[in-house]
């Protein structure tokens, strides 16, 4: 079941995680499937990076939940937040390559990735407000931290979709590509990232995330200690050795 909802396709060190969504799919099913596939991806040592993309239909398209009771809504929110924390904390770079409408759950999922690239057809938003609801899977928090309060409020209050160009300007999207080249360009970018030290990518990602929400001084101490730890690794010897010998490094993440 999980395989149908979120398909993993291996391409060298990169795993493509396809999340087509579907007209019959509930948010609970999609998030549950995502959670299971993330456990798979975390366990696969050969996988060094993940490309998240849709297919055909709208990214993360789900059926409306209908009338939930308050406790059910809270449970669903907690379940989804855990799934997206697992995505954010995967320990491997995750790039989302998106086109078309990216809204609601789709945008919340995209915000939990390392960063987002898109084509010019992409549009981003949280339309929940018009139904009297709110994003509930970390979206209000990740969006605000990424684009600032003002843009976040604009998106959340109006429920309107933002163009790809606007999303690039407000830092929601890192890079824009033509529609025909999006997945290939994103894959090439991620393949290049996967030649870097898996250890440095993991530790660096964790230090960025952990340090962002605490004061700068404590955050820099955290970084200092993580930096020192890198010098106990094989990756550091290999990386600096390769640099000095002017060859390509062969990292193992050890």
């Amino acid at each position: 079941m999980s395989e149908k909802i979120c398909r993993i396709e291996l391409e060298g060190p990169v795993a493509r995680l396809r999340i087509p969504g579907g007209p019959q799919l509930s948010r609970r099913d999609l998030l549950g499937a995502l959670r299971k596939q993330l456990d798979q991806l975390a366990a696969k040592e050969g996988v060094r990076g993940v490309l998240v993309c849709g297919q055909g239909v709208q990214f993360c398209q789900v059926v409306a939940d209908g009338q939930l009771t308050s406790p059910d809504a809270a449970r669903l929110s907690a379940f989804g937040q855990e799934a997206l924390f697992a995505l954010e904390g995967l320990g491997k770079p995750v790039v989302a390559a998106l086109s078309g409408e990216v809204s609601g759950l789709g945008l919340e999922l995209a915000l939990a990735c390392s960063f987002v690239v898109a084509d010019h057809s992409a549009r981003f938003g949280f339309p929940e407000i018009s139904l009297g609801r709110l994003p509930a899977f970390g979206g209000t928090q990740r969006l605000t931290r990424l684009v600032g309060r003002s843009v976040a409020k604009q998106l959340l209050f109006t429920g309107e979709l933002m163009s790809a160009e606007e999303a690039l300007r407000v830092r929601l999207v890192n890079r824009l590509y033509g529609a025909a080249e999006l997945e290939q360009a994103a894959m090439a970018l991620l393949q290049r990232v996967c030649t870097r030290s898996p250890l440095a990518l993991r530790v660096g990602g964790e230090v960025v995330d952990a340090g962002y929400d605490i004061d700068l001084k404590a955050a820099c101490l955290l970084e200092r200690d993580a930096f020192a730890l890198c010098f106990a690794s094989r990756d550091q010897k290999e990386g600096m050795g390769a640099f000095l010998e002017k060859r390509e490094p062969q990292f193992t993440g050890d």
């Binding site: 830092r171 990518l201 990602g205 962002y212 970084e223 200092r224 010098f231 600096m240 490094p249």
Partner: protein, 239 residues
Amino acid sequence: MPYKKLRIEVRNRVGYLILDSGARFNKLSVTTIRELKRAFSQLDEDGRVGCILLSGWPGESFAVGADIGQMRPFTPQDALQFAELGQSLFDQMERVAKPIIGALNGITMGGGCDLALACDIRIASDRLLIAHPGARLGIITGFCGTQKLPRLVGKNRAREIFATCDSYSAAEALQMGLVDRVVPADRYWDEAVAVAERIAGMPPCSLAWAKRLINMAEDCSLRSGCLAEQGAASLCFVR
């Protein structure tokens, strides 16, 4: 004691701190970092100086990280000490009461990128190439970059810069907000000097408090920051 890796000059209230290692790249070695610390405290105490301009002009590089050959055999303890030294420089730069302008004249990599992030304003030449290539060397930076870069350009762009290890051009750096202004190389120095002289002409007390208040804005509650602002505003009227 004379400096070996840099030069200092004071003109029209601007303190010029020019990295000049004599080599193609200004590496942030232990010696350079110690000299930078000494130079910043000298310029901080110099009453003729209203603003500091840090650059590698007219060389090819602004600054790069430490010598890889020297770093390779580091133990974790060596690395800890080295990061401590670097972070103490950046901490000092934050506490210097005068604005520090980073004039990024060219290649700015690794620790050099962190040095740029510790400046208050960054003006780049269109020859800028800026990168954070730690993940290609099997390390992360230990000079506050993992913390200051996300705060400056947003988490996602910072993650991209760290993960790709790519070199970014002046135009890309401007678009990301990594630098505040880009000037063509032929007019570069004149404009950097003009910005520095304009700032250096402002009242020192206001500059110092503006710098402190903006730095603390990120790390304290809005209420506490506003309270500090009240105090600073009243100090401006002390004669």
